[in-house]
Subunit: 139 residues, 3 copies
Amino acid sequence: MKTFSDTFAVQTAGKGTYEITDQVARVVRAARVENGLVTVFIQHTSASLIIYENADRSARVDLHAFFERLVPENSPWFTHIFEGEDDMPSHLRMVLTRTSESVPIIAGKMTLGTWQGIFVFEHRRAGHRRMISVSVLGE
Amino acid sequence: MKTFSDTFAVQTAGKGTYEITDQVARVVRAARVENGLVTVFIQHTSASLIIYENADRSARVDLHAFFERLVPENSPWFTHIFEGEDDMPSHLRMVLTRTSESVPIIAGKMTLGTWQGIFVFEHRRAGHRRMISVSVLGE
Amino acid sequence: MKTFSDTFAVQTAGKGTYEITDQVARVVRAARVENGLVTVFIQHTSASLIIYENADRSARVDLHAFFERLVPENSPWFTHIFEGEDDMPSHLRMVLTRTSESVPIIAGKMTLGTWQGIFVFEHRRAGHRRMISVSVLGE
């Protein structure tokens, strides 16, 4: 049994989803673990992680539109507004998705399904440099 | 310290929740781990996992109704529609719930609370065979 | 490699968020793990866990208000009502947030970002004693 950790940065260009499956797979390969678990963690409260369908781009277009509707920017009852109109919605969209994702590793590979990819979900309008930490445990 | 992995399939009969606590507990017992962690992962983007109240069936009836209302099938602004009216909502309902669930193991057992069960949440109308991967780590 | 587990209770005073970052950090220190993973789990279906911004109190005020709007208490179509008006909403708010949170440990510390804290999100009106189990794995 061993543990392996790494961190990497993802530069976003504002609101949207950014696939990081390859970067995570690279950490898993570097860990040389046949069976175990990888956990990916985003160190921010205005961006989140999701595992989402990575084949058809339209599924992501609708995802982005859905969150604009579910958590609108201009809610008049927001009190946390001093960092901009897109700040408070970003915290709520983050809390409705995920801060970490864990994937079992079997036979040296993440057990992702055929259409599953790991994505950073950026909730701010401006681009940000998002830090990701990764932990691999196994043998 | 050791790691133990397994996969199993769950046949669903369309939209709804399907308890898998017993199947996961069986993997934990097979792993013979006294203290550690079990992570359950669903390899799909139109079904998800939840830990939910497993005592009173009405709590699940209301859960299903809530998600029909929160993410309606016939949203006119969906663009990802070629796989059926229930496809895009299934991705959104999945992303609002969870792809993996992790439970600490203490004294050989998952530390689930009295009313907690682990469920597959099927979001498609048709029944599907859903693949679950499980990782147990501990000693 | 080793594993370390602990449980602790959090007394809530009704609806709201209660930071437990210090309690979790104490368990991580007790585990004496340099690199690994900590998983925090809440053993309840009417309270949840979130990792949320812990600097400005107003972000939490808006979080609470958002969930009162997203999952209102008096939905006339609820059938699971015998435990009070706040019971069914508490299950739905729980399922939209998280039952567990996992954080990689690097150099002996959780890799939380500057503004991230771990919180119990109490969804019932009355105060409750909430049980938290924690698993630390690493070396």
